[in-house]
Symmetry: C2
Subunit: 352 residues, 2 copies
């Protein structure tokens, strides 16, 4: 069997990116790094769904502006979100006259979209392509659990869906390269609790990381960071334990966007990791973080705002970035099914 690691040539680099977030994300540890925010979470719209679409539009528009590109320069869009029928993307990007590939990878969609955009550009089908993803707390909570107006209690393992959108322009000539990718396999380990996505997704992340290191000549020590999308505190601990049981210790370099976005460099969360420092000490969060952030917008905004600048500057030279997603629907869980999950891996490097 082939290793299935996808190796990209020089074509697959980040030309630019943008992040758009809501109130709580702006107040979190990485707040000042995001490009745009709206403290009402509404983005000038009269429904939460339209607000989510507007975040996608703003993110792509900002990313295009940063690289002085227009919609005519982009060969294809790869986009998705958590909403039923992915309407956050189909409506949000409707105004752009760009061919559109719709994706659904739950919270792994940011990584999935970047893999496909990178492959298309690196193969020469398009000179550039864009990847856009979003989530919105108020659309996701009422669709997957209960409307936020209900004010239901949240369990300690639950995660807070990030209000945010990220857009990435992939093309030739950038200084952050997408060097390799490994697409995830859907795995399911019996978790049925919609308030414990971390536990459902951790085995998928472990599976992809194990497959990567089995096929690669590299070891965790070769990386400055191994970053998961949104396992949160619960899922992050499970991932580290699952990998330790297989003889792989990633704790020194492990980071998770879902922990970072609200929690910052909290030493109780990262007892082992030495690589993460929040840009500033924000005021203590005044809402219940529980296990951390989640949603398509979580890994997308943290990748754009935190990791890509550090890879560009050379502060980070070589990282693994995993998008992690839980692939159930509310109906499938109500019907008694377990939660399948997936994790797509990207190897990102600083190019001199």
């Amino acid at each position: 069997m082939e290793s299935r690691i996808m190796s990209f040539r020089e074509g697959a680099t980040f030309l630019g990116s943008a992040s758009v977030v809501g109130k709580r994300e702006y107040e979190g540890a990485l707040g000042e790094l995001f490009d745009l925010h709206d403290s009402t979470d509404k983005f000038g719209m009269n429904t939460w769904e339209k607000a989510e679409s507007e975040m996608q539009r703003l993110a792509l528009n900002t990313a295009l502006a940063k690289v002085s590109a227009t919609e005519r320069d982009v060969g294809a869009l790869f986009a998705g979100d958590l909403l039923n029928q992915c309407v956050g993307s189909s409506y949000g990007l409707l105004g752009f006259d760009i061919p559109y590939f719709g994706l659904y990878g739950a919270c792994s969609t940011a990584a999935e979209s970047i893999i496909l955009a990178a492959a298309m550009v690196d193969s020469g089908y398009f000179s550039s392509a864009a990847a856009v993803t979003s989530s919105h707390n108020c659309t996701a909570e009422r669709q997957f659990r209960t409307p936020i107006e209900y004010g239901g209690q949240r369990s300690p393992t639950s995660q807070w869906t990030v209000t945010g959108a990220g857009a990435f322009i992939i093309g030739k000539g950038g200084s952050v390269r997408i060097k390799e990718a490994l697409c995830g396999i859907v795995v399911e380990k019996g978790i049925k609790d919609l308030s414990n996505m971390g536990a459902a997704m951790a085995p998928a992340a472990a599976d992809t990381i194990m497959r990567y290191f089995k096929s690669s000549t590299l070891s965790p020590d070769d990386f400055d960071a191994i970053v998961t999308g949104d396992l949160g505190i619960e899922g992050g601990k499970i991932l580290c334990e699952l990998l330790l049981a297989e003889g792989l210790d990633i704790r020194r370099v492990f980071l998770d966007c879902g922990i970072m976005i609200y929690g910052g460099g909290d030493p109780e969360i990262y007892p082992e990791s030495a690589v993460f420092s929040a840009p500033s000490k924000r005021k203590k969060r005044d809402f219940d973080l529980n296990a951390g952030g989640s949603g398509c917008g979580c890994s997308a905004t943290v990748l754009s705002a935190y990791f890509l600048p550090k890879l560009k500057s050379g502060e980070l030279k070589n990282i693994l970035f995993l998008g992690t997603g839980a692939m159930m629907s509310p109906a499938s869980v109500q019907q008694g099914e377990s939660i399948p999950a997936i994790a797509h891996l990207l190897r990102l490097t600083h190019e001199e």
Copy 2:
């Protein structure tokens, strides 16, 4: 601006495919061409959602068996369906140990998945890849409109969601080639009627066909057939009129999988087209067809069962195949939004 037509080399061919359908599809004009059917529509499962997942599993398994391949031979799956969070695919293909790219393109997903699988194989990332899509009448109707048990009246422009799944194995060396592809752009022309998807999708199909012929040296006369996924009678007529207004007459070669699957070679449906003949005169349908079939499974099963064999034998040598999709959600329509639509184009050729 680049033409955005994707040209594939020799790598992108169909190695094999399979189709699985329900009762009404088996009783339709193409019934005897499908590989598998279940006259209960349940496929041995106790929920409609599980039945849809089982169709996907059966379709991929049958396609793999036809080409004597196992899951170890397939580098990646590209899959999607109409269900919220695409659970038809994530659960249906869970048993296959193959990297999984989840897609959402509404009824255009069959074409979208084949484009991406073809690009990945043709670029050499994988030696083969699979595309799998499905829809099920009983899951779709209760999710998008009303449960079938409700027995609601259906308008003349409404389409019947096909119960069916198609799977395609893409790799080198087959005799039906995916020669070119053109990804659709999301367009929206003010249609808000969930019972008139044909009208919502026809402008998207017209947009993609016009863009193709503006960038190509070919004309409609160079094709044996120009096939849309599931515009139905209403949408098919609108498409032909929209293109005529732009000076492009495709009526001689126009076909639509949504019309073909139940309606057969009915002369009132195809007054102009001379190219379609149903394999046999089935007994007259005993249910209300309205404007024809729709759903991800419609174009997937008709492509697999009707067009690919004719392309393989050389009876058809050069066709355009468009997957057409309506990208709304029930929530977006309830909120007063119009229905965005998309159409992805494939050029398929017989190779000597």
